[in-house]
């Protein structure tokens, strides 16, 4: 099918190139797909703002290869199946050089096979499930992966929170949640801890009373909830309503202002691991926070914004080093990324096209996200 379409597409694009103004010939198009609306809109919005800021800055500094950059963003509405469609559109209609996205692993896993099939490099800013980059050699990411994140949280629960008996509450319909739960459990048990009870839910569930009642009866000292913020907030709320006082903790899926907005007092004293904190005291972070606040009305950038920013930076850096917008050359340059100075730390691609970075632990305190500690890989 693709082979048949290709001459046709080439003919159409040649015709368009002849009629199009000089401006559009010169920009380098970078595609972005994000959950700008819907259940996980906070992720998409943050990530998009970071990406946009990076592109605007690089354009102000003269672009790359003497050309301006153009970011083309499409919204997948947090819906299943939508990412595949819009990424196809970005590649075949917009002819993007590279694709940036997504935050949620399940949606990155939808788009990655398409980028791989069309040989267009894709960078996921913050999908942590290992399977994402295993799709193929055109798929990269600028964040750590779940085996590391799971290990970090298991160690933190065991050593800092002194928890021996833990419950798992996993979303069975999200690749991220299932993966993170698995790595957490392996490490926690290896360290001598005990996973007393495992309960499941599906994305979009709102009632967790049944699972939490069963967890309460099992007498655990903490609950690990590897899920996204909408469910995490409701889970915390319902756990507190059931009179449970044990700490709940999760991964970077918790990172969104909505966690506190929906969860209110119930998320006080809860922990999660993530990629970066605006409170980290390095010049790069300080500069980024200042620039972000100037651009987006004083909003403080979260980890998704920082990773969105870094993903665009890494992509454009690879185009610069490749010296062309030829996709295989950009891919090779991406694979050769070493010590790229980003906001979330220096980025080097390993042989599996993953970045290895430190994790930070955040605690919710007085309705704010507080930096607790940083854990190196």
């Amino acid at each position: 099918m693709f082979r048949l379409l290709r001459p046709l597409l080439a003919a159409v694009s040649a015709a368009m190139a002849l009629s199009a103004p000089a401006y559009s010939q010169e920009t380098i198009k970078i595609g972005e797909y994000a959950s700008l609306t819907g259940k996980e809109a906070a992720f998409g919005q943050s990530s998009h703002k970071g990406t946009l800021l990076a592109i605007e800055e690089m354009n102000a500094a003269g672009g790359v290869l003497g050309r301006q950059l153009e970011l083309i963003t499409e919204d997948n509405q947090t819906k299943q199946g939508e990412s595949a469609t819009i990424v196809k559109k970005l590649i075949s209609r917009e002819k993007v050089v590279g694709v940036l996205g997504e935050v949620a692993s399940m949606r990155s896993l939808e788009a990655a096979p398409i980028c791989q099939a069309y040989r267009v490099p894709m960078i996921s800013p913050s999908s942590t499930n290992p399977k994402v980059t295993q799709i193929g050699n055109y798929i990269f990411r600028v964040c750590f992966i779940d085996p590391f994140q799971g290990t970090v949280m298991a160690k933190f629960a065991k050593e800092t929170l002194k928890i021996r008996k833990v419950a798992l509450l996993t979303s069975v319909s999200s690749a991220y949640s299932v993966g993170l739960a698995k790595y957490f459990k392996e490490r926690f048990i290896a360290d001598g801890g005990e996973v007393v009870i495992e309960q499941k839910f599906t994305e979009g569930d709102k009632d967790f009373n049944a699972q939490l009642t069963a967890i309460k009866a099992s007498g655990v000292e903490g609950i690990f909830v590897p899920g996204y913020y909408t469910e995490a907030a409701l889970i915390c709320k319902q756990a507190r309503d059931l009179g449970m006082t044990v700490p709940l903790f999760g991964g970077d899926g918790w990172e969104a202002p909505e966690l506190i907005e929906i969860g209110g007092d119930a998320v006080e004293g809860c922990y999660y691991s993530t990629h970066y904190s605006p409170e980290v005291d390095t010049p790069a972070v300080k500069e980024f926070v200042a620039k972000f606040q100037a651009r987006f009305e004083g909003e403080i950038p979260d980890a998704m914004a920082a990773l969105g920013y870094d993903s665009a930076g890494v992509m454009v850096d690879a185009i610069r080093r490749a010296g062309s917008t030829d996709e295989p050359a950009v891919r090779d340059a991406l694979a050769a990324t070493r010590d790229f100075p980003g906001v979330t730390g220096s980025t080097s691609m390993d042989k599996d096209r993953n970045a290895s970075k430190a994790a930070v632990i955040i605690m919710v305190k007085d309705g704010k996200f507080k930096f607790v500690q940083s854990i190196a890989p």
Partner: protein, 296 residues
């Protein structure tokens, strides 16, 4: 034992909300013999009216909560009547399938208009009723659960009384039994049908507000899943039968809760629907429904 009682309570409050939605499905079916698929979106609109009303009312007071609840019910009653007048009445007398497809259209219209007007991002529903937790020998009862169960029970009793003890209720039953004959003896069908839609939609709105109160994250597509469950509950109890809808909803709420709390929680919906199929195999008209032959 405490765990069992706790799960029983969880199931009861979930079932009470399903019951409020299921009643609307069943009433419209009883009178018009068609499933109003837009009902679950009226439920969503109810939650949003409660949200906007709740913002302007003092939080955490009983009367403030009741005012928000009343506002949502009144708003949705009007919405239900308008939907019936604009979308369903022009099709009355035609094949039922046309109305059914129109209902799906209205449902999609409300969902996507909701996304346009309210945005697709989930919002945090304010705590409009006083939030308190009562603990009795390890059994934890949240104020919200009490409110859900009490409000649902009061509304169901009120509904039962209005259907069996008032003139309009008698007219409703007459239309349900035989619309032509009812018209011949002087019942104004248009008024009765408008009233049925208004009443059903008001109950859905109450369900929406109570649902949002318990699970305080609302979005324009929030009606889909509870709507589907309530529809199942209505069929389970015998569609067209009011106590049947309440019974079906309670059973569904209980089954879901107990499966969720066990280690087969992944199969929650599968088990709930397997039970539905099992019951319908033995009682094709539902638990309390009467079997009548129907022309499709």
């Amino acid at each position: 034992m405490t765990e069992f009682l706790q799960q029983l309570l969880n199931g009861l409050s979930l079932g009470a909300i399903y019951a409020l939605i299921a009643l609307g499905y069943t009433m419209v079916y009883g009178v018009l013999r068609f499933i109003n698929f837009a009902h679950s979106d009226v439920f969503m609109v109810g939650a949003f009216i409660g949200y906007f009303a709740g913002k302007h009312l003092p939080h955490g007071t009983v009367w403030g909560g009741l005012v928000a609840l009343a506002a949502a019910m009144a708003g949705c009653a009007v919405l239900g009547i308008v939907i019936e007048r604009l979308a369903y009445r022009p099709l009355r007398g035609g094949p039922t399938l046309n109305v059914l497809i129109t209902a799906i259209g209205v449902s999609l219209f409300l969902e996507y208009t909701g996304q346009l007007v309210f945005g697709a991002t989930p919002r945090a529903f304010p705590a409009i009723f006083p939030a308190k937790i009562i603990s009795v020998r390890g059994l934890v009862v949240s104020m919200n659960q009490v409110i859900v169960i009490v409000v649902a029970a009061v509304l169901m009793v009120a509904l039962q009384l209005s259907v069996y003890r008032t003139k309009i209720g008698m007219a409703m039953r007459a239309v349900s039994l035989n619309p032509k004959a009812a018209q011949l003896v002087g019942v104004n069908i248009d008024v009765v049908i408008s009233f049925t839609f208004g009443l059903g939609s008001a109950l859905a709105a109450a369900g929406g507000v109570l649902y949002a109160l318990n699970y305080p994250s609302i979005d324009p597509l929030m009606g889909m899943v509870p709507g589907l469950k309530a529809f199942v509950a209505a069929v389970l109890g015998g569609v067209g039968n009011i106590p049947g809808a309440a019974l079906g909803a309670l059973i569904l709420g209980m089954v879901e809760t107990f499966v969720d709390g066990s280690r087969w929680s992944t199969y929650k919906d599968a088990i709930a629907f397997a039970i539905l199929i099992g019951i319908l195999l033995f009682r094709p008209a539902g638990l309390l429904g009467r079997f009548t032959t129907e022309k499709v």
